[in-house]
Symmetry: C2
Subunit: 82 residues, 2 copies
């Protein structure tokens, strides 16, 4: 298992409720891929959302986002943290 | 006070020890700007580092990074989180 940070750039105007719904949509199916979405942070003005997850691969994380209806292809493994 | 996520792209090969040192350099001076660096996540392979902070403005956060020796200009306020 590894940690990942992925980034979405197309969520201009996202509300707290929409963000919660998107996160719940990930949580509802993440087990299928052995992934867990831990946290997410959003900038509604620029439409940028950062998601911190744990999972077996980049591809597994991105498949969960895609199936949940908010695909992205920008993701980095983040093995180091403080 | 607001939350911010900033991103560095020039830290290829960063080690856990170097990341800890960089974070400590921020913590040592952050009070001057009323900023607090909470967490950071790094991908040594691409050189990408994400930093989560709290502070009065983008500029205050970036001034701390610059004075600590690792400037960046990529930063977003992240008022929403899950």
């Amino acid at each position: 298992m590894a940690k990942f940070m992925d980034v979405h750039h197309d969520m201009v105007g996202i509300t707290a409720e929409q963000m919660q719904e998107a996160h719940q949509a990930d949580l509802a199916i993440e087990r299928d891929e052995g992934v867990h979405f831990e946290r997410a942070w959003a900038d509604p003005e620029s439409g940028t959302v950062y998601c911190l997850s744990e999972g077996p691969s980049k591809e597994a994380v991105l498949r969960v986002h895609e199936r949940a209806g908010h695909p992205t292809d920008e993701i980095h493994p983040v093995p180091l943290s403080v």
